[in-house]
Amino acid sequence: MSQTSDAREKPLSIVLEKCAKTFADGTRALEPVDLAINGGETIVFLGPSGCGKTTTLRIIAGLEQPDAGGRVLFDGEDVTNLAIEKRNVGMVFQSYALFPNMTVAGNIGYGLRIKGWSKADLAKRVTEMLALMRIERLADRAIDQLSGGQRQRVALARALAVRPRALLLDEPLTALDARLREDLRVEIDDLLRSLNITTIYVTHDQAEAMALGDRIVVMQQGRVAQIGTPRDIYQQPANAFVAEFVGTMNKLSGRVEGGIFVTAGGRMPWPEAPAGATRVMFRPEDVSIAVSDGHLNGTIASLFFLGDRVRLFVDVGDAQPIVIEASNRRKLSRGDRIGLSVDPRSFVAIDH
């Protein structure tokens, strides 16, 4: 096998079988999870802090052992008792974990040094990785001379240099400012597509999850709430938690009367309403402002100018105002009465 090409015969598939985690102090971090990750796919673990996403990642990495009975399989081979240093996974930490006692090049080459690569091969690979991440000129810098974005690139280069079987990223962009986060997200996405490497990405940022994931695993209180493509998760959330965690979701309570959903703010046609539905959910982008009276009528409680559009909070007599977005061509102001219509095909029926 050539030491410098990135071509790999077949990307790694990972299977978790009944992996649970209880910490020494008795905290249950993860309920038994079953999960199959296909070779080459980018899977995102998404959820609020404490949902078990990082614990799951650490179990896959080999930094945590699942409770007895749980198994981790790499390409069908049981690696549950294999230490992280034997698993050959590349890892990027939230705090980057770059070694302050080494230069950028020293950090990137460390894994290869451990593997006993010859000096010439090592130098070649390090140069290659520096070029891949476009940080050639930083090679001899010390870590404390780098900005956050530069550290992130070094951490990625270091993890990829050893040609890992899988790449594991634990909230890699959280420590960066918004603009840089956006840029790096695009860059990481391009990189992952070109490398065709199995990637697990942990984040609490749903926009990041949507942009990067082939599939998203939404987690809640140590359980998997839903697994699906970003589109599935967004359009067919499995429960109220997923619906509200991913994107903005409006909800109204009321009752169904012969194909009409009756709420405090008006009567909305809903031909496919499930029997006995008492709540309906819909996304802001599925609401349009009606010329005259709409299905729903309400008052603008507040509005925020976002540049390309206006975000409106409309009080329709329910506990919470609904959120909609409108083109900024319209002259709208707080206190205006407006009519709204909602596409019934976009309705999501979820009852607690």
């Binding site: 070694f99 090049a105 460390y110 593997k115 090679a139």
Partner: protein, 271 residues
């Protein structure tokens, strides 16, 4: 230029007085070691004969002190650094208790520790009369300084994540310890070493009880000289002590200044 108020000059004067209070006795003592006759004063002329006298009679104590300090440093490094590592990695009731216990020899008067050692091991003739007996006392006394100083650095850096990073790149425990843990605790190890060396060289309390006539360290010899010989000899002894310890301290300080990571040779630079 801004005019300085009276309070500035008061503070300056106070600082100078404190400095003088500390430094003048040292200078006088060193000068006394070079004076022909201290009772007559500096007018009696300067001489190196007292220094030579000290060198002839007390050379052994100096070499013993230096040897002890180096051996003590070696022991505290070998015991203290791994101990600090374990204390940093495992924070529980037991390790906290160990951490407190380690400080006991500093809290308890040196004489008490020395007595305890004599009571326990005094019967072992060979050991009691050997310099290693003093070494044991010194290690007991200086170990907490090494552990504390290394532990402080280990707690300040995110050692756990650094090690996890190294492990994810394939490094086993030994490689992680030598490539990552030790280099990143360098400042703590150097600071601890500095403490251990100076404390060991200057230790008198405990050593005074532990020593035998054939195993005198420099401070014990110094006490001896002041008690039984001319003041000039004692002072010359102090002078020699300074000449010994100051370069040692300066050298350690030079090592302690942070070092930039060494650049790795890359492909375009290979000949």
């Amino acid at each position: 230029m801004k005019t300085r108020g009276a309070s500035f000059f008061l503070q300056l004067a106070f600082t100078l007085i404190v400095c003088a209070f500390l430094i003048v006795p040292v200078l006088l003592s060193m000068l006394a070691g070079l004076t022909e006759n201290y009772l007559v004063g500096i007018g009696s002329g300067l001489t190196l004969k007292w220094v030579a006298n000290v060198w002839d009679n007390y050379r052994d104590t100096m070499f013993l002190s230096l040897g002890l300090a180096v051996a003590c440093l070696a022991c505290t490094l070998v015991i203290g650094v791994p101990a600090a590592y374990v204390l940093a990695k495992r924070q529980n009731m037991f390790t906290r208790a160990v951490e407190e216990l380690l400080v006991m020899p500093v809290a308890v008067p040196g004489l008490a520790t020395a007595l305890a050692l004599i009571v326990t091991y005094g019967a072992l003739r060979g050991f009691r009369t050997s310099w290693t007996f003093i070494l044991v006392g010194h290690v007991l006394f200086t170990l907490p300084f090494m552990v504390r100083s290394v532990l402080a650095v280990m707690s300040a850096i995110d050692l756990k994540t650094l090690e996890e990073g190294a492990a994810s790149l394939g490094a086993g425990f030994r490689q992680r310890f030598f490539h990552i843990v030790l280099p990143n605790c360098r400042s703590g190890i150097v600071a601890g070493s500095l403490m251990v060396l100076t404390l060991s060289v200057g230790e008198f309390n405990m050593t005074w009880l532990l020593h035998t006539p054939l195993n005198k360290t420099l401070p014990v010899g110094l006490a001896d000289a002041y008690a039984s010989l001319r003041l000039e000899i004692g002072s010359a002894y102090t002078l020699v002590f300074f000449i010994m310890i100051v370069p040692l301290l300066l050298a350690m300080q030079a090592i302690a200044t942070p070092r930039k990571p060494r650049p790795v040779r890359r492909e375009d630079e290979t000949p």
